[in-house]
Amino acid sequence: MCLAVPLRVESVDGAVGRVSLGGVLRDISLVLTPEAQTGDYVLVHTGFAISVLDEKEAQETLALFAELEEASRAVEAADPRTTEGATAQG
């Protein structure tokens, strides 16, 4: 019920935004996110954008994942018990 999907705003006309959902263009309401602009990704729930996604925060989370990956690899490289096969299995 609280399902919401991230979609890109393709154009804005007043309080109506046009998003592309699997190639089909659909109008959604922007009354809850008046700050949304063309090119932003918004969380869409029952025909309304409820949140404008923050690209900087999104990238930061991915950067943390990359760090985790790197740290794990470094630990494995330093551990003589770890083999290539074990790395693949994680």
Partner: protein, 367 residues
Amino acid sequence: MKYSDEYRDPGVARRLVDAITQAAKKRFSVMEFCGGHTHAIMRFGIRQALSSHVDLLSGPGCPVCVTANADIDAAIALAERPGITVATFGDMVRVPGSRSSLQEARSRGADVQVVYSALDAVNMAAADGDRSMVMLGIGFETTAPTIAASVKQAQAMGLCNYYVYSMHKLTPPAMKAILGAGEIKVDAVLGPGHVTSITGWKAWDFLPRAHGIPCAVSGFEPTDILSAILAIAESLNEPAAQRRVSNTYARGVTAEGNSVAKRLMADVFEMAPALWRGLGELPGSGLDLGPEYAAYDAKRVFEIGDLETTTADARGCRCSQVLRGLIAPPECPLFRHGCNPAHPIGPCMVSGEGACSAYYRYGGALD
């Protein structure tokens, strides 16, 4: 950046599982409040991946599942009246009330229409001024602002035939009720990402403050959920007084949430007691239309009167216990034995995001 695929990397997921098992000093339980999380957890095999260290408990976070029989009975009574159309989101139509569901009522001739958005119902009201359109306001804080917006839209269009029957519910009071009842041991809470994009993560501050348990607000992709559980595992290693709400869904959630949506909700609705399936009546856990919007309030305009309604589940159905996290769906004797998505008996199997439906669809190996 698509804001979805990037958070499904299996390699990162494996690292996060390793990090969780390393951080866990002892076995701990996490209640995922939200039915969307239950589905993602089952779908991506997260429950299995963490089963040696973490117990994941499904909570009451499926608005359709916690809707009381009395509200469904009232919706059916309205739809059966001449001149009234009841509009609803699709997942509500098959949920059983005391005697039947909206779908069964429709097959008997009641006028029930499924809409994608409350604005569709407003447009239907505008297109047919002779009929009264009653939109069922179902959902948590995620959905309530959209229903509030529909009332404002109907007002702006000067419509006199658009109404809302509000059964909206608020999530923090339900979480408090579950913790207060003390029926199960909850070490931490996985905060519902989309609810919290509206409320802001400060709405969950009471969990560490009043109950000493960590809460991590999470998105719905596998690495979102795993990083939230990692934040919980790390937080559990700290003294209770130092625990905080972690926001691992920062791309969609802020401390204060969506101020426009919150203002709109506060304008159109007022807090009211609400009846929850499984939890009973909880004070301040629901939203009714405020007195200024009485003309749009189906409860005020159409006297529904006393219906012969029951709070009991269907015979043998244990949804009420599933919703409180007391049992996992396979522990219900009806699960797979008479209750399945094609022939559901209880709401947790009916709804696409009910815990029973999630376990049925993805949980085969665990039964």
